[in-house]
C-alpha cells in the first residue's frame, strides 16, 4: 500500500539567494513512515539523480529536541496538533495529495538554506536571563524548599518548551512571546527563580524585542501549533510579571 505524494518545497541556496517553490513527485511512499523519512527518501532520489538534496534540520526524531520544524501547508509542524514535524506520519495523508513545505519565516530566524533557519535568537533571549544563577557546588539540599505539587506541575507545563520556534513561525505577527513567556513563567512560578524575577522579565522581553520579533496580538495560533501545547496563559503571566517589575522595580 504505497502512495503518490506531490511536494512543493521551498528551495533557497543561501540566506540572500532568491528562493522558490519547486515541485517533486514521490511515487512510492509508505504510510507507515514519518514525514521526515519521506524527505530522506526524496533526498536519496535527488542524490542519485545528481541533484542537490533538500536541506532540512532534524535530530532526535521523536519530538523532544526541537531541531526539526517545517511549515507544512501553511501550518507550522503540520496538520497534527501537539506534535512536531518529525513525529508526523505519512498515514495522515492520502495518495495524490499535494503538500507545500516552507521554512519557518521570520526576520528573527534568517534562512540558512532551503528549509534550514537560524534560531540563535532564542539562545540570546535565554542568555538575557532565562536561568537561575546557581553556581555548581552552591546548592542547598534538594528538599530544603518544599514546592507544592500544583506549582511544580504548572512550572513543568511551561518548562516543557522544546525551543522549536514553531510559535514564531505560526504567529501572524512572528512574535516570540510564547517561547519567551514559557521560560519566564517556569522561573516565576518556582521559588528558586524569585531572586532574579524582575530583572529576568525586563531583560528577556527587551531581548525578544531587540531580535525583531513581532508583538503579540493574542491570536493563540502559537498555542495551537506548539508541540508541547504551552498555553498563552504563560503570555498573560509574562505581561503581569513585566508590568509588576516595570512599576515596582527600583
Amino acid at each position: 500500500m504505497s502512495m503518490v505524494i506531490n511536494l512543493r518545497i521551498w528551495r533557497q541556496a543561501s540566506k540572500d539567494a532568491q528562493g522558490q517553490l519547486v515541485s517533486y513527485t514521490m511515487k512510492n511512499v509508505s504510510p507507515d513512515i514519518s514525514f521526515l523519512e519521506m524527505l530522506d527518501q526524496l533526498n536519496d532520489q535527488l542524490i542519485k539523480e545528481g541533484k542537490d538534496p533538500v536541506a532540512f534540520d532534524s535530530d532526535c526524531r521523536e519530538g523532544i529536541c526541537g531541531t526539526c520544524g517545517l511549515v507544512i501547508d501553511g501550518v507550522a509542524h503540520g496538520p497534527r496538533r501537539g506534535c512536531t514535524t518529525c513525529e508526523l506520519r505519512m498515514r495522515h495523508y492520502k495518495s495524490g495529495d499535494t503538500i507545500t513545505i516552507e521554512p519557518f519565516r521570520a526576520e528573527g530566524f534568517p534562512i540558512i538554506k532551503d528549509l534550514v533557519v537560524n534560531r540563535s535568537a532564542f539562545d540570546r533571549i535565554i542568555q538575557s536571563g532565562g536561568y537561575v544563577a546557581a553556581n555548581a557546588g552552591s546548592a542547598p539540599d534538594g528538599n530544603a524548599i518544599p514546592i507544592g505539587k500544583d506549582i511544580a506541575e504548572e512550572a513543568m507545563d511551561a518548562a516543557a518548551c522544546i525551543g522549536c520556534g514553531a510559535c514564531v513561525a505560526a504567529c501572524p505577527n512572528a512574535s516570540a512571546s510564547l517561547f519567551t513567556s514559557a521560560k519566564i513563567s517556569q522561573l516565576a512560578l518556582l521559588p528558586q527563580g524569585h531572586a532574579e524575577r524582575q530583572n529576568r522579565v525586563l531583560n528577556m522581553v527587551a531581548q525578544m524585542d531587540a531580535e525583531n520579533f513581532g508583538d503579540c496580538s493574542n491570536h493563540a495560533e502559537c498555542e495551537a501549533v506548539c508541540p508541547k501545547s504551552i498555553s498563552i496563559q504563560t503570555i498573560a503571566r509574562m505581561r503581569r510579571e513585566y508590568m509588576a517589575a516595570a512599576l515596582t522595580k527600583h
Binding site: 501550518v75 513581532g214 493574542n218 495551537a224 496563559q233 498573560a236 505581561r239 503581569r240 508590568m243
Partner: protein, 254 residues
C-alpha cells in the same frame, strides 16, 4: 529603574496601552449605545438625554470626556498601527506562499486577523460621524432648537432622523457597526489577555462575555439606523415643537 518610555515602547507595553485605550473606548461605546437606544423612545426622551449629558459637571464633563476619548482614540489607533502594520511587517518581511490555520486551540479568526481593517474603518467613521451629529455638517439635517427661551433643547433627534432617511447613510452605518462587532469579538477578551488579567479558570467565561458584548453592541448599533429609517416621521409637515431659536448657544449652523 526602567525608563517609562522603554516600558511603553516594549512589545508588552504597547499591548498594555492598546488594551487600556481599547477598553476605555469599549466602555464608551457601551454607554453610547445605551444612550442612543433612547432614540427608540422618541424625540423628547432622546433630546432630553442629550441635554442632560451636556449639562453634567457645569457643562464641563462632555468636553473633558471628549478630550479623553480623543486621546484614547489616537493612542489606540497609533499603537494599533505600530503593532499590526509596522512591527508585523518588520518581523515577517517575507510571508508564506501558502497560509493555513492550525485550528485546535487557536483563536486566530477573521476578526483577529482584520483588527487593523476594522480599526481603520472606525478611524474613518468617527470624524464623519462627529461631523454629522456633533457639528451638523450633513446639510439635509437642519439642527433645530425648541423649548423655552432660557432652556433650549437641541433637536438632535431630527438630525439623526434625517440622516438615516438616506439609505446610503444607513448602509454606511451598518457596515461600520458590523466592523465594530468584529473588532470587539477579538478585542474584548484580548484586552484582558493583554493586561495579563486572565486565568485558565475564567478565560472561557471571559471569552464568552467578550463575544456576547460584541454581538449585542453590533446588533444594537445596526438596529438603530434601520429602525430610524423604517420609522420616519412625515417631514412634509413641520414637526410641531420645533421653534426657531432666538440665539444659537452652540454657534452651530442654523
Amino acid at each position: 529603574m526602567p525608563h517609562l518610555s522603554a516600558i511603553l515602547n516594549s512589545s508588552v507595553g504597547k499591548k498594555f496601552l492598546q488594551a487600556i485605550t481599547g477598553l476605555g473606548l469599549f466602555v464608551f461605546v457601551i454607554g453610547h449605545l445605551i444612550g442612543n437606544l433612547l432614540l427608540l423612545l422618541g424625540a423628547d426622551a432622546f433630546n432630553h438625554y442629550a441635554k442632560f449629558l451636556e449639562e453634567l459637571g457645569h457643562g464641563m464633563l462632555v468636553p473633558a470626556a471628549d478630550f479623553g476619548l480623543l486621546m484614547f482614540f489616537l493612542v489606540h489607533a497609533v499603537t494599533g498601527f505600530r503593532v499590526a502594520v509596522l512591527d508585523r511587517g518588520r518581523a515577517r518581511p517575507v510571508g508564506y506562499q501558502k497560509t493555513g490555520n492550525a485550528g485546535g486551540r487557536s483563536r486566530k479568526s477573521i476578526a483577529s486577523m482584520s483588527m487593523i481593517v476594522t480599526g481603520v474603518l472606525l478611524l474613518i467613521f468617527v470624524p464623519v460621524h462627529l461631523a454629522n451629529f456633533k457639528y451638523g455638517a450633513f446639510p439635509a439635517a437642519p439642527l433645530g432648537y425648541y423649548g423655552p427661551q432660557e432652556n433650549q433643547i437641541r433637536d438632535l433627534y431630527t438630525v439623526v432622523e434625517h440622516l438615516f432617511a438616506d439609505p446610503f447613510w444607513v448602509g454606511f452605518y451598518v457596515v461600520v457597526m458590523v466592523a465594530l462587532g468584529f473588532h470587539l469579538w477579538h478585542g474584548v477578551w484580548s484586552a484582558f489577555q493583554s493586561l495579563g488579567a486572565t486565568h485558565p479558570r475564567w478565560m472561557p467565561f471571559l471569552t464568552l462575555i467578550g463575544h456576547g458584548f460584541a454581538v449585542l453592541l453590533a446588533i444594537g448599533f445596526v438596529y438603530l439606523p434601520i429602525y430610524m429609517n423604517l420609522n420616519q416621521r412625515n417631514f412634509d409637515q413641520p414637526a410641531p415643537p420645533v421653534t426657531t431659536p432666538a440665539a444659537n448657544p452652540t454657534g452651530g449652523p442654523q
